[in-house]
Each structure stands twice: as C-alpha cells, then as structure tokens.
C-alpha cells in the first residue's frame, strides 16, 4: 500500500525538474497532492499526510 522511494535528485533530473526540486530533502506525496520540504520529525510528517487528505 505504501511505495517509498528515495530518489537521487541528480540521477533523475527529469523527475526532479517535473516537481521543481530546488533543495533536499523534499518529499512529494502522491504525485504532488502534498509536499514536505526539509526533514521533519515523524509526527509532523504524519500531520502533513493527514492535512493533504491522503486516506
């Protein structure tokens, strides 16, 4: 149910450009439904997932 990919931004320019990645880490949720720029504790990340309405 969960697909978690660590994407090497430099190895995958095309995907990085598609999302306009300018700093890392940058997490794209369900092809852009949500976005978490920077590294956050798990709890904050979960809050962002819930905020984006991914259920």
């Amino acid at each position: 149910m969960v697909l978690a990919e660590g994407v090497g931004a430099m190895d995958f320019n095309e995907i990085s450009e598609k999302y306009g990645i300018s700093s890392v880490p940058d997490t794209v949720i369900n092809e852009g439904v949500g976005r978490v720029v920077g590294a956050y504790p798990e709890q904050n990340f979960l809050a962002e997932l819930m905020r984006t309405g991914v259920k």
Partner: protein, 156 residues
C-alpha cells in the same frame, strides 16, 4: 577492480550488520543506457551483500525483465534498488523462498549520505519492523488508497 568500501567502512558496516536478524533480498534493476550509474551501483551492492550471509542480491536488466520491472514499479528508473524481505518456508518438505516487497526503493546510486540510508534500510527490513509510532501505523493501516512517497535526496 578497485573496491568502493575501504577497510574502515567494511569494519563499521560489518559491526552494524551484527544486528541483522532475518534474510533480506536486494533486487537491482539496471539499464544499458544508464551504465555510468548502474555499474558502480551494482559493484557497491555486491560489496555490501558480501558482508553478511543474510543478504542476497539479484540483478535484472529492465529491458530484458520488463514484466518484473513493471511488477516492482521501476520501469524507466534504473538504477533502482528494491529492498525486500526473504522468507524461507517449508512446503511439502521442500524449502521455498518467497520475496516480500515492503515498497522500499532507492533510485540512483546510494553514494555519500545515501550509503547510510542503504545500510539503514537493510537493517529495517531485516528486523521486519518499520520503527514507526503507533499513530503512524494506525494511519497506514487505515489507508484506502496507495500512498506514494518520493523523497528527493542528494549524496552531499
């Protein structure tokens, strides 16, 4: 060929691998048009899995194994590393191995900081425990649709 892993690193990783508990199957998907990143990724993984009997590596060319690449959702994503669990079961007195995919991927060469991510992923999958909080587990269990996370990273 010159090794990627120095003796120091081998000693450090070897110590961490003392915590490995269950078998892990690493699948590497490569592509002929991405040789400059696929070849070093394969060499690095070969050197890593050599450090523990609980780790094994299978390498597939995306072009030649298109169905498998599609099953693991890694078409057009070479080099793609799938870090999966390997379960051995006895069936009719014969041992059979089953790969369980936890949806964990590393796309691109796991160099620099990403080497630590690779080692951590191997330990997590081997332990069969995500380490996530009860709230996060509850959320994931309740998911009605697939969740796709793409974490963009760089080696530095």
């Amino acid at each position: 060929m010159e090794k990627f892993l120095t003796d120091d690193l081998i000693a450090q990783v070897g110590q961490l691998f003392g915590k490995l508990t269950n078998p892990v199957q690493v699948l590497l998907f490569t592509s002929k048009d991405k040789q400059e990143t696929c070849e070093p990724t394969q060499q690095l993984l070969e050197e890593v899995v050599e450090l523990s009997d609980l780790l094994s590596l299978s390498v597939f060319d995306i072009g030649e194994h298109a169905d498998l690449a599609s099953l693991y959702k890694v078409q057009d994503k070479a080099p793609a590393i799938v870090i999966a669990a390997m379960e051995s079961t006895l069936k009719f007195g014969k041992e059979s191995n089953q790969v369980t995919d936890y949806g964990i991927r590393i796309l691109g060469i796991p160099a620099g900081h990403e080497f630590a991510t690779l080692i951590n992923d191997l330990l997590l999958v081997s332990g069969r425990d995500s380490g996530l909080s009860p709230q996060t587990r509850k959320y994931i269990k309740g998911l009605a649709k697939p969740l796709h996370l793409e974490v963009f990273v760089t080696p530095t």
